[in-house]
């Protein structure tokens, strides 16, 4: 750790991670602001809203948590729904494993905690395309910490501003709009469309069910429908030349 060139290359890799992550904060900071406002509006205390951003550290799952908690949903359903929302991280973890598995445990814990959508997106690209150095994991540290700091500060500002922004601005509607920005371009295959439509229909017809269980039911239903369509189409076309890149 004391030799200067190695230290420099670790620092350089960290800074590169920061630089790659910064443009994505254009989308992250408004979302954090809105979450801060929404958390208070949902009846969470300032402290709970702020700490949720570091304990859960995942935008969509924090929104689901706040909305379900506000609606008085039983804790087990809240936990189950939030967990389903975050299941996708297993994929990130799996694809990062080959680059991080050799690291000491404390590194893997830290980088695992920082492994969010946005940090994954930029760092997996660097790991795949960049030089294979001993210090490449510093890139994920840089991108992950950039996102973490931006997310905490924007949540905090949102909590402070939340009391002053009038309800009539409908700022909480920014959250489904952000999700539209993520979902619409990601529908590329027929199976994606099926997952989307089934989840949409279930989310409406399951509304009368107790405990807001429509979230978890429509999510699982959409996943199952998409998977079955994918399985069916890939069985009929054995040369599937368009596997999903992630």
């Amino acid at each position: 750790m004391t030799d200067a060139p190695a230290q420099r290359s670790a620092t350089a890799e960290f800074c590169l991670g920061v630089r790659h992550e910064l443009p994505l904060q254009l989308g992250v900071i408004p979302f954090g602001l809105v979450f801060g406002i929404l958390g208070l509006a949902s009846g969470l205390t300032s402290l709970q809203t702020i700490l949720l951003s570091s304990i859960l550290f995942g935008g969509a799952s924090q929104v689901v948590f706040a909305q379900l908690w506000a609606a008085g949903v039983p804790p087990l359903i809240v936990g189950g729904s939030v967990s389903v929302v975050n299941l996708r991280h297993v994929l990130y973890s799996a694809s990062m494993a080959q680059y991080l598995a050799h690291l000491p445990l404390r590194w893997r814990i830290l980088l695992g905690y920082l492994l969010t959508d946005e940090a994954y997106a930029v760092s997996i690209k660097r790991f795949q395309d960049g030089p294979k150095t001993r210090y490449q994991h510093y890139h994920l540290l840089g991108s992950g910490m950039t996102l973490w700091v931006a997310w905490q500060i924007s949540t905090l500002v949102g909590v402070i501003a939340g009391t002053t922004i009038p309800e009539s601005w409908s700022l909480s509607f920014a959250i489904p709009l952000t999700f539209i920005a993520l979902v619409a371009p990601s529908i590329r295959r027929r199976a994606d469309l099926v997952a989307c439509v089934v989840a949409a229909v279930l989310s409406l017809i399951c509304q009368p069910l107790p405990w807001k269980s429509w979230i978890i039911i429509s999510a699982l239903g959409g996943i199952a429908a998409g998977w079955m369509t994918h399985y069916h189409t890939s069985k009929n076309t054995p040369t599937d030349k368009n596997p999903r890149p992630r």
């Binding site: 299941l87 999700f179 920005a181």
Partner: protein, 104 residues
């Protein structure tokens, strides 16, 4: 109670990010599971979007006509498909909503 749920879901979420870095799952995930997990974002986010757009928070009924949020969502979807930009999508949707709510 809320703190307990926050911490438990936090631990679970950390678990989803950390599990494959532990080395316990030596051969990686089976292909069917990877395929299924690939549909998580679309299914989950759609399930959050659609009721937020179509269900009137006051009456808890589905509203299609005279629904400013539906128009905002349609504009946002078009902008999302054209630009693939989160800021442009969110701003266009909010702007549509404000115009419809306040000036019409």
């Amino acid at each position: 109670m809320i703190w307990l749920v926050m911490v438990m879901t936090g631990i679970f979420t950390f678990g989803t990010r950390f599990v494959m870095l532990t080395g316990w799952v030596a051969r990686g995930l089976p292909k069917w599971l990877i395929d299924a997990l690939g549909f998580v974002p679309i299914a989950v986010l759609t399930a959050i979007i659609v009721p937020a757009v179509l269900i009137d928070p006051a009456t808890e009924q589905i509203i299609v006509t005279h629904n400013a949020r539906l128009h905002a969502a349609i504009i946002a979807t078009i902008v999302a498909l054209l630009t693939r930009n989160v800021i442009a999508t969110t701003c266009s949707g909010l702007a549509t909503l404000w115009v419809l709510q306040w000036w019409l």
